[in-house]
Amino acid sequence: MTIVNQLSRAFPKGIVLTSKENTRPFECDGLSVYRQKPLAVVLPDDIVQIKQVLKICKINKIPVVTRGAGTGLSGGATPLEKSIVLGLSKLNKVKLIDVENQLAVVEPGVRNIAISEAVAQYGLYYAPDPSSQIACTIGGNVSENSGGVHCLKYGLTVHNVEAIRMLTIDGDELILSCQDDGLGLLALMNGSEGLLGVITEVTVKLTPNPAFVKMVMAGFDSVRDCANAVTNIIKAGIIPAGLEMMDSFAIKAAEGFAKVGYPLDAKALLLCELDGIQTQVQLELDNVLKILSGASTLKVSESEEERLNFWKGRKSAFSAVGTLSPDYYCMDGTIPRRHLADMLEKIHKLSKKYKLRVANVFHAGDGNLHPLILYDANVTGELERTEEFGTEILKLSVDMGGTITGEHGVGVEKLNAMCHQFNTQELEIFHKIKHVFDENSLLNPGKAVPELHRCAELGAMHVHRGELPYPELERF
């Protein structure tokens, strides 16, 4: 009996999707250039059913791709050929809210924003806020270690998870808490991209709503001045809740789209959000305004409405750029903040070299860049040129002491770039960690960590003492 038949027989109607029409929405995630039809999509109602799916897949040696809302941007949830997609969107209950300890226990399919909505009545919220927060799920957030615009002060997902329950490929339950003595297994699970286990429950830390919030918007005549202002704010001992930067192309796109009053003549725009108790915010605000005194335009939000309006432009920047070009490619490199200005100049030069437009939108506070390369997939060779351009940016990020991905994950998209960031021995450690949890490589295999031969073929291997490691590997 085929696996599809076994699954269909094991579950009540509506749990297993097999027809072309029903499985089509699951062919890709947010990175839609990669598509693959799975054998079937299973949407379990509870943990018992998840266990059953894993059991059937294990017996048949069929890979399982776990999926939340499918909003990921690196192909982490793209189905593999002859795989089963395990969609956890139906497990969407907030199980417990512990106001006193500022914790919430939620199922993996609960949407990020739904947590904040559920606890709002207690003056609390869940801090990590990826742009996709209205749709993305907490299970997906843990798997990707998602970020957002408030990470500098409030941390990433890994800093806001208290405990998880997960299933191994064998269907055994593992409970991991941040209070566990011994190895940091909970941290390991954060950002493991569905390769080590299936998350079935998450206990998240909640944050009290800040009493007072102000936003400063500053326009600059030069990108370097703006980047320097970012450094000077941090240098002054201020940790803004959000510190975002956009270049002139992104400003124009966002303003054209959202009409929020961004200065159209500015070469760079800085958004700096300060939160906390009123006296402290006021003090920091005075300080920030002093630091930004060289800006060509400077505005402080006077109402909550105006503050949200300033955010609206930034948050719609991606969709705004989308209206200017048939396609765009979003990068996610992170660099030490001190290199911001140099990086932007280099990206600008590369843009001319590759004859492709770039809009720069980024989380300046934590050095996380999101250059958007504009291209047209219908023009022959343009996607390839875009990818080459993107690879150069990622290599620059690594060479500056940063990383190829700050918050979007490796997925299928950045496998080649991984060969640049890690050497063979480091990649081998990753493969061995995977093997500890999943020795037959059935959980999202082939994602997140490149096979060694892939790196060898790329010729991007780190050469030690003039000898190539693994001479037995074939190279093309």
């Binding site: 055994d172 003595d181 050095g367 700050g406």
Partner: protein, 177 residues
């Protein structure tokens, strides 16, 4: 590459049994400190007191609890605690085969590869020689009263099996005891 590092790699390669402690390491000092980037990279043998002294010059501090400033930062990392783990950005290690490896870096956001830099927090010297660690630091004014974090033993059999297998990943010859 620095010579002490190479000596230690050879020591690990040639040993069949090693008990890791700070005096064995003899590897200390602040490697890089970028106050404006809120990051400090230190050799594992550096005392916590020395790191704090350096940070104080820029009104910055470590945002995790320490009860003994005389111990090395490597010892605190190996002992492990949630608040310390939260500040770790990267680690350089010598594994049980004598190989020098680098995980993570100096940036706040980094999701490339598994988070080995945080996995090894609490490894108690049983998995690898911790050589260098990078931490996120904070302006002193942002740090509230720090309290000792709670730690509990996870008694699940599966948990213990996984820890054992992970030791074999980093120390396949079982030399660190």
């Amino acid at each position: 590459m620095d010579s002490r590092l190479q000596q230690l790699q050879i020591l690990v390669k040639e040993s069949s049994s090693l008990h890791i402690k700070s005096t064995l390491l003899d590897y200390s000092g602040i490697v890089e400190y970028y106050a404006e980037d809120l990051v400090i990279s230190v050799k594992a043998g550096t005392s916590i007191a020395q790191i704090k002294k350096q940070l104080k010059i820029n009104n910055q501090a470590l945002s995790f609890y320490t009860d003994n400033e005389d111990i090395s930062i490597g010892a605190a990392y190996a002992q492990g605690a949630q608040d310390l783990s939260d500040c770790v950005l990267g680690v350089k290690i010598i594994d049980g085969t004598g190989t020098y490896l680098n995980f993570g870096g100096q940036v706040m956001k980094n999701v490339a590869g598994y988070d080995v830099a945080r996995l090894l927090v609490g490894s108690k010297g049983k998995l690898a020689l911790i050589m260098q660690i990078s931490f996120k630091v904070m302006p002193a004014t942002y740090i509230n009263q720090l309290t000792p974090p709670i730690k509990r033993k996870n008694n699940s059999v599966l948990h213990q099996q996984i820890e054992k297998k992970l030791k074999q990943v980093f120390d396949p010859r079982g030399i660190f005891n």
